[in-house]
């Protein structure tokens, strides 16, 4: 196993997935690092490393979400406004868009969120099933439902609407 090559290849994708999943770049960086350190301790063929890393990282996110108030607070905040605060060079329009995306993601069940975001990283259905822990045959159904749900909620958010379902879905963790 060429660890440096695997790291260079997978780190950007893993970080992007985790940042989208948690809404927190710092948490995404921490969990990325932890997952790769664990990979160092458990060398795997390159073909298996990606799926293994995403499985570990997804489980770490679940632990993180269960462990504390942070994600609840973060997602509530993102529902109310952009989190983290907009950078000076970030336009108001962009800030609103980010807030709408986060709010829409927050209103999707956590497992569906994982599935959607893994699909965005190019995982096949069988891999998604393995990482998320669902039956392979159910991935298509879950994806279709999550996709429609996201599109509907995001359209509401983008139009300035909203709902208070954030907490209900977070409680499913």
């Amino acid at each position: 196993m060429d660890f440096e090559a695997i790291f260079a290849k997978l780190y950007p994708s893993l970080f992007r997935y985790l940042n989208r999943l948690t809404g927190d770049p710092d948490v995404a960086a921490d969990i990325s690092q932890e997952a790769f350190v664990r990979l160092l301790q458990r060398p795997l063929p390159e073909a298996d490393a990606r799926r293994w890393l995403f499985t570990v990282a997804t489980n770490l996110v679940r632990d993180w979400a269960r462990a504390g108030e942070r994600q609840r607070r973060l997602l509530r905040d993102s529902y109310r406004g952009p989190t983290p605060p907009a950078r000076p060079d970030e336009s108001a329009e962009r800030s609103l868009r980010i807030a709408a995306v986060r709010a829409a993601l927050a209103q999707i069940a956590p497992r569906d969120r994982e599935i959607l975001l893994m699909r965005e990283e190019g995982f096949r259905y069988a891999e998604i099933a393995e990482v998320v822990g669902v039956a392979p045959g159910s991935v298509g159904t879950l994806l279709a439902r999550a996709l429609r749900r996201f599109a509907a909620v995001y359209a509401e958010q983008a139009e300035g609407g909203g709902s208070t379902e954030t907490d209900a879905n977070l409680n499913e963790e």
Binding site: R20, F36, L40, P43, I98, V101, E120, L147
Partner: protein
């Protein structure tokens, strides 16, 4: 065929269907306005999602593989049986910009001086047998039998050397070297290694640590398996090398037998 289910259309879009089923769905969608519209909606939703979540993306923080190795080294040091004293020095030398094949480029070495007790050796089992090729005495390409015992003192040397695989590491334990013994650890290319000694004084250079007057306390060298290239010398004599996944102990190893071996095969 009847109308395909929504998840079938999505699987069609994601190229998850077998070739024959894909052809069937394609032919159906071409003649069915309802399914064609549903496919368009799924396509649009897919684009919406991709476009929307890309707004969340930020650059990944710079992180080097060698920093992860450093993290692993630090964790391994914490696991050493003996306490690491407050006077411990940990000095990372950051990676240089030069690239292979320069020796000593791109390197971090962490070195720790400390008091401590003897670290038990261990048999060489799965990891060294399957993931790393170990050679004792004369070089050989034969992989080692996991059940092969390693015991006895180094031939021609009063110093016993044992090798202990751990998760992500190989520990090289030099037991009770003579007081004036010099131990040198040299890395080339990249990586992080650690040298831990009871008595010795340290001299460092890029890519290199020397332990002077090392005895009689034990010296422990930690080499992460990801270190691409490393050499360990005892009084100028090469006693261990690592090149990629090929680890060679060039003198017979001494071992106690009760430590757990936890390296996993692979890599």
């Amino acid at each position: 065929m009847g109308h395909p289910a929504e998840q079938t259309l999505l699987a069609y879009l994601d190229r998850e269907l077998p070739v024959d089923e894909r052809s069937t769905v394609r032919e159906h969608v071409q003649v069915c306005a309802t399914c064609s519209r549903m496919l368009d909606e799924l396509t649009a939703a897919t684009r919406t999602l991709a476009d929307a979540i890309s707004a969340l993306d930020v650059p990944a923080p710079a992180l080097l593989a060698s920093e992860l190795e450093g993290d692993l080294v630090a964790r391994a040091l914490q696991e050493l049986d003996a306490p690491v004293p407050a006077a411990t020095t940990i000095t990372p030398l950051r990676r240089r910009a030069s690239k292979r094949p320069l020796l000593a480029a791109a390197l971090i070495i962490i070195f720790v001086a400390g008091a401590g007790a003897a670290i038990p050796g261990s048999p060489l089992r799965e990891w060294l047998a399957r993931s790393v090729e170990l050679v004792t005495g004369a070089p050989s390409k034969e992989p080692i039998d996991p059940a092969t015992p390693f015991s006895g003192q180094g031939v021609g040397s009063p110093t016993a050397v044992s090798v202990q695989p751990r998760d992500g590491f190989v520990r090289i334990i030099i037991t009770q070297p003579a007081p004036e013994t010099m131990i040198r650890v040299r890395l080339s290319d990249s990586g992080t290694a650690s040298v831990w000694s009871v008595e010795g004084r340290y001299r460092t250079a890029p890519g290199e640590i020397e332990v002077l007057d090392a005895g009689p306390g034990d010296v422990v060298v930690l080499l992460p398996r990801t270190v691409p290239s490393a050499e360990v010398e005892l009084d100028g004599r090469l006693v261990a090398t690592k090149e990629g996944s090929d680890f060679r102990l060039l003198i017979p190893a001494a071992d106690s037998s009760d430590a757990e071996v936890s390296f996993q095969a692979g890599g």
